[in-house]
């Protein structure tokens, strides 16, 4: 649980602070590294990374929509064949969740890989 919270908060801060300056592949690498460093299990990392990425994107989208009161989300939703502009918030959040989740999962599984090697060294023979 501590690792879950740690990864959730760390990657959320990372995405929030560096998001405006870097494109999302850089954020993915960041979450990947954070998950590696925090070292939670695959499942924990996936959800922590996914939630942090997804929720930040979701709330950023909602924040912009509320702040600007622009008709653009409706226009984009129509253009993309979505009936409701609210679905665009969900789509943005979901996409963020997938990007964050799989980046964190890869990071944690990489660490798992190295851990396992050490373990094998100790217990073999």
């Amino acid at each position: 649980m501590i690792r879950f919270t740690a990864l959730l908060i760390l990657s959320a801060l990372f995405i929030l602070i560096l998001g405006p300056f870097f494109s999302y592949p850089v954020l993915m690498i960041g979450v990947f590294i954070l998950a590696y460093l925090v070292g939670g299990s695959g499942g924990i990392s996936f959800f922590a990374g996914g939630l942090s990425f997804g929720l930040i994107w979701f709330f950023q989208a909602v924040y912009i929509a509320v702040q600007t009161n622009s008709s653009l989300p409706e226009k984009m939703a129509e253009l993309m064949g979505l009936g409701e502009s609210n679905l665009l918030w969900v789509a943005t959040g979901l996409l963020g969740f997938l990007l964050g989740g799989f980046s964190a999962l890869s990071g944690s599984l990489l660490r798992n890989l190295f851990k396992k090697k050490r373990d094998q060294g100790i217990y073999r023979y």
């Binding site: 998001g19 405006p20 494109s23 999302y24 592949p25 993915m28 990947f32 695959g42 994107w57 950023q60 989208a61 912009i64 929509a65 600007t68 622009s70 008709s71 653009l72 989300p73 409706e74 226009k75 984009m76 129509e78 253009l79 665009l88 789509a91 943005t92 996409l95 997938l98 990007l99 799989f102 980046s103 999962l105 890869s106 599984l109 990489l110 798992n112 890989l113 396992k116």
Partner: protein, 807 residues
């Protein structure tokens, strides 16, 4: 197992990262697009929310202040002209970058680069017409003969490029994000391309269609259906005008032979009939204030982002305001402290075709004056998104480029048609507008116009000194009667035009006795003008309605001129409908209890206005369309490209020669007369009306004509506006049809301080997410205006925000 797990997760992660940054078919890169920090969400901010107070601009000579008023109209205050145009470039790019670039891509024949193979045919046509070639000629001309204009064009480009270079991913216009490309640098060449693009948009010709018609109808019938002047000619230059120059002499050579063969090429799209523009000026003798009032409303495609961008440009020497074309320098239709001017298209056949005979299939030499002349080749490389580039070889003769040949739109192997067009000439249209912007009087106006070549325009003028004037300006070939009306023989030098009508002989008038000048794309002159003036697309209705109104009006105020711009009277209907009703003896039909009597009665009671809620215009529109189609059916069905007689001549024919053999359908045994067509089309109209009413529940004119302001990418439907509630239509002063109409309306009253009002269907911002994207739209549809009076740098009222450009 864990390796596999990791590898699996990594592959998914990488695929997600990569796939979402790529475009698949028409699906944009979703990751980039939805990223709240860089994607489309960032385009939700309006301009005032992201405004900067200061911007540093390397190369600027002195500080420039830009005040945006509450409609986001920028007012640029610069210390010198070079800085003024730098700032104009910067500010325009800020709000219209995607549009200005897209339009020049279209002008350069590079749309395929952005949208893929769907635009290949369009790009090939653009290149074969020689638009990029023409812009190169224009640039070369500036390099050798007008380095000042070139310096200003470069200053403008610096401004645009400053904006492009500091453009963050977040601020990138949304169209780039959806279509997944980035802007390239601007240049003087692109500005010139844009002006050539305007020429292309406004100039048409029907030479090849006329050639076919001459073969089908014979010369006599052709001249009858397509007379040089209409019966009721109400030309741009008042008919009473006495020409005060000694004309150049030219006469039709003896025994001239046009190529006789029928033509089977898919001819190029033409400017849509009914598009055009109005402008006029009334002298102080007819106005309440005693000062002239000038009005202009150019009609073009109704698009978003709007074709026009409003601006004020101020230096210590002058202050000018009005509509700019994003990508071109200065104000195109506007006013300053001393003068006001406006433009309408002065349509005239300045595009001619020559059939070329080559020596061999390699097309290296062609026959001219019975000698073999070397041709040149221009290889056009058209980049295509997602495909290998397309190479098109265009052969150039001294006449111009071969547009139609075995590789393009021609079925026969031996077709080689060269295009000769004044837009290919080295020219400097930009200079005209730069000079008009700072013009002070009639002499300055005439001097400015001398630099103008193409597309020919009726330049209306009014000055604070009390002058009103209009001049038909363009570089017009000196033609013998009939020259260039048909496809010509490229071998015969007598077919070629070589000289031009001198600027001083171009039709013009200054302070005519009638107290007004006006134009609405009609015939430029009356038959007394000593030069051959021909075009297929002259207007026959707006001009007569406009002049009739102007003749009657007195004690005119600005509001009266606004009302006139919004005049919905349908003169064509007023002339055609009584003839149609008479031919079918509507009275008798009603008396006999015809089941459609209600429709007939309603049409008979129509006041011929086309206000949005009226239903008669919808009925008439349908009836006329069916009637026209029925009368000219044989020509419409012809497999050869032809052009149909215009509405005006068709009405004359119905009215004066209802028994004419022209009305007989050769495909039937019966001998048809006009009445048969009118009756049949009336029935078709009723069926269509019933169907429309069943579908839409009503028949109001606004719903029926469905005025649509369409985004430049038609697929972006949610960036467009359909079903605008507004009246008017083609050939009506308020020329708002489905896709065309007043793309800019301006009324200016000269005086110590000019009063001015303007409006256009759209808004200052090119960003569909901004509230300024469509902020003028409703006012425009209602015939309202926004105040366009000149601002001073010190004016503090109604300021949205200010930006300072610092060196």
């Amino acid at each position: 197992m864990k390796y596999i797990g990791f590898a699996f997760a990594l592959i998914i992660t990488l695929s997600l990262g990569v796939a979402l940054s790529l475009q698949f078919g028409s699906i944009p890169p979703l990751g980039k697009l939805l990223d709240p920090n860089h994607g489309f969400w960032q385009n939700s901010f309006t301009e005032d929310q992201i405004a900067k107070e200061e911007i540093f601009f390397d190369g600027l000579i002195a500080e420039v202040t830009i005040t945006y008023d509450e409609d986001l109209i920028p007012h640029i205050f610069a210390e010198n002209e070079e800085d003024l145009y730098r700032a104009q470039g910067y500010v325009t790019a800020q709000h219209r970058l995607w549009q200005m670039e897209f339009q020049t891509m279209a002008a350069a024949g590079r749309v395929s680069e952005i949208v893929g193979p769907i635009a290949l045919d369009l790009d090939r046509m653009t290149r074969r017409k020689g638009l990029p070639f023409a812009a190169e000629q224009g640039l070369q001309y500036l390099e050798t003969s007008d380095t000042e204009s070139l310096r200003f064009l470069n200053a403008y480009a610096e401004g645009v490029n400053l904006y492009i270079n500091e453009l963050s991913e977040a601020r990138l216009p949304i169209e780039y994000k959806i279509l997944n490309y980035r802007p390239e640098n601007w240049s003087a060449y692109k500005s010139i391309l844009l002006l050539k693009y305007m020429a292309d948009m406004l100039v048409g010709d029907r030479d090849l269609e006329y050639t076919n018609l001459r073969n089908m109808l014979g010369e006599e019938l052709l001249n009858k259906l397509f007379p040089l002047f209409p019966e009721e000619n109400d030309p741009v230059i008042e008919a009473e005008k006495v020409w005060d120059f000694e004309p150049l002499q030219i006469s039709r050579p003896d025994s001239i032979n046009y190529p006789e063969e029928d033509i089977f090429v898919k001819t190029m799209p033409q400017p849509v009939p009914g598009i055009g523009s109005n402008n006029w000026a009334v002298s102080g003798t007819k106005t309440q204030s005693g000062k002239p009032i000038l009005a202009n409303d150019p009609h073009l495609g109704l698009n978003l982002p709007s074709l026009w961008y409003a601006m004020q440009l101020t230096t210590p020497e002058y202050s000018v305001k009005g509509a700019t074309l994003p990508g071109a320098l200065g104000i195109i239709s506007g006013f300053n402290e001393n003068i006001a001017w406006g433009v309408t298209n002065a349509t005239r056949d300045t595009r001619d075709w020559y059939a070329i005979q080559f020596k061999q299939a390699d097309r290296l030499e062609y026959l001219y004056n019975d000698q073999w002349i070397q041709s040149t080749f221009r290889i056009e490389e058209i980049k295509v998104k997602g495909q290998a580039p397309f190479m098109d070889t265009v052969v150039y003769t001294h006449h111009g480029p071969i547009v139609y040949d075995k590789n393009f739109r021609a079925e026969r192997q031996d077709v080689n048609f060269a295009l000769k067009w004044t837009a290919h000439l080295p020219s400097n249209e930009q200079k005209t507008f730069l000079l008009l912007n700072k013009g002070q009087n009639h002499n300055d106006y005439i001097e400015a116009l001398n630099h103008y070549t193409s597309p020919a325009q009726n330049f209306v003028f009014a000055s604070n000194e009390g002058d009103i004037a209009i001049k038909v300006q363009g570089k017009f070939p000196l033609k013998w009667e009939g020259q260039g009306k048909f496809l010509m023989d490229g071998n015969d030098p007598r077919m070629e035009w070589k000289d031009f009508i001198p600027n001083e002989h171009n039709a013009a008038t200054l302070n005519p006795a009638r107290g007004f000048v006006s134009s609405a794309n009609q015939h430029s002159v009356d038959p007394s003008y000593p030069y051959y003036v021909f075009d297929n697309s002259f207007e026959h209705y707006r001009n007569r309605r406009l002049n009739e109104r102007l003749r009657l009006m007195g004690n005119i105020r600005i509001e009266d001129m606004m009302e006139l711009q919004f005049d919905n009277y349908h003169l064509h209907a007023a002339e055609a409908l009584p003839v149609m009703l008479n031919l079918i003896q509507a009275d008798t039909l009603i008396a006999q209890g015809n089941p459609n009597s209600d429709y007939l009665k309603s049409l008979m009671a129509w006041d011929f206005y086309t206000n949005p809620s009226q239903t008669e215009p919808s009925m008439f529109d349908l009836w006329w369309r069916y009637l026209n189609r029925s009368v000219w059916e044989e020509y419409i069905k012809s497999e050869k490209p032809v052009v149909l007689p215009n509405k005006y001549q068709t009405v004359k024919l119905l009215q004066n020669e209802s028994q004419s053999p022209l009305f007989d359908k050769k495909s039937t045994d019966k001998l048809e007369i006009a009445k048969d067509h009118v009756l049949a089309s009336f029935d078709s109209m009723i069926v269509a009306v019933e169907k429309f009413k069943a579908e839409k529940g009503e028949l109001s004119w606004a719903t029926f004509k469905n005025t649509t302001i369409q985004h430049l990418v038609p697929n972006f439907k949610s960036f467009s506006y359909e079903g605008i509630q507004t009246g008017g239509g083609a050939n009506i002063i308020n020329a708002t049809s489905e896709r065309h109409g007043a793309s800019w309306r301006m009324v200016v009253e000269l005086g110590d301080e000019p009063s001015a009002f303007g409006i256009y269907p759209g808004g200052q911002s090119g960003n569909p997410g901004s509230k300024f994207y469509d902020s003028f739209l409703k006012k425009w549809a209602n015939g309202e205006y926004v105040n366009f009076k000149l601002r001073k740098a010190t004016d503090q009222q109604q300021v949205l925000f200010k930006t300072t450009l610092k060196p």
